[in-house]
Symmetry: C2
Subunit: 134 residues, 2 copies
């Protein structure tokens, strides 16, 4: 009983996520999406929507489309391959996890630096405005 749920046109999806239809078609070409077809036109379901959302999140984090596809493919794995494949998956996951950790560190470091720069800017601005009043 595949409840099926709502469907979306490509333009609809594009609007929802603020990307162009070109992007969505490109993601399909690169194997990130595989919508059904009604005739020639693409029909997207919620599972496609989820994949697109995850893909865009990955992109914001600097993942390449290839990496994103790898993870997405693991994600809805109804064919949990061999032991070897599963172990490879865990390897990839560990890798991505490590990367995220480093990004967190980087972000915190950069936030500290932004704090410093901003403080200097603010004080410089204060002085300028003070001298303006003189």
């Amino acid at each position: 009983m595949p409840v099926s749920g709502p469907t979306y046109a490509i333009g609809e999806l594009a609007q929802q996520f603020d990307v162009t239809t070109r992007t969505i078609r490109f993601y399909e070409q690169e194997g990130l999406l595989s919508p059904e077809r009604r005739g020639k036109t693409r029909v997207y379901r919620d599972k496609d929507r989820v994949r697109l959302k995850l893909a865009l999140r990955g992109k914001r984090l600097g993942f390449s489309l290839i990496e994103i596809r790898e993870v997405l493919d693991l994600y809805d794995d109804r064919n949990h391959g061999s032991v070897r494949q599963l172990e490879r998956m865990l390897e990839i996951l560990a890798d991505k996890r490590a990367n995220l950790e480093r990004q967190l560190e980087d972000i915190r470091a950069m936030q500290r630096e932004l704090d410093q720069v901003e403080a200097r800017c603010q004080s410089a601005l204060g002085e300028l405005k003070a001298s303006e009043r003189s």
Copy 2:
């Protein structure tokens, strides 16, 4: 009295940060670095090293070289321009800050998803190994 401190050759720096010399020269061409010259050869000081470090961090966070240059230029600003310029700087900083926040959110969301995928992998792996023993 500019203590000056240690200097580095381009290859040295490349090794320290695990990038190619081409990258370092490219960053110079793009205005991120501006080492002195002894004759034709580049001589790097600690301040250049710091800029390189910050640049690479920025890159890991998905900043473009242009954005990185903007921030670096703000960073060692001995010529804190006009009020307008300072205000523009604060604007940019706020922008980058917001971006970092979103990245943090994305990272946390993605970590949760990795947790789920990994759990599924682990359990599938457990089942496979169990059935192997039968």
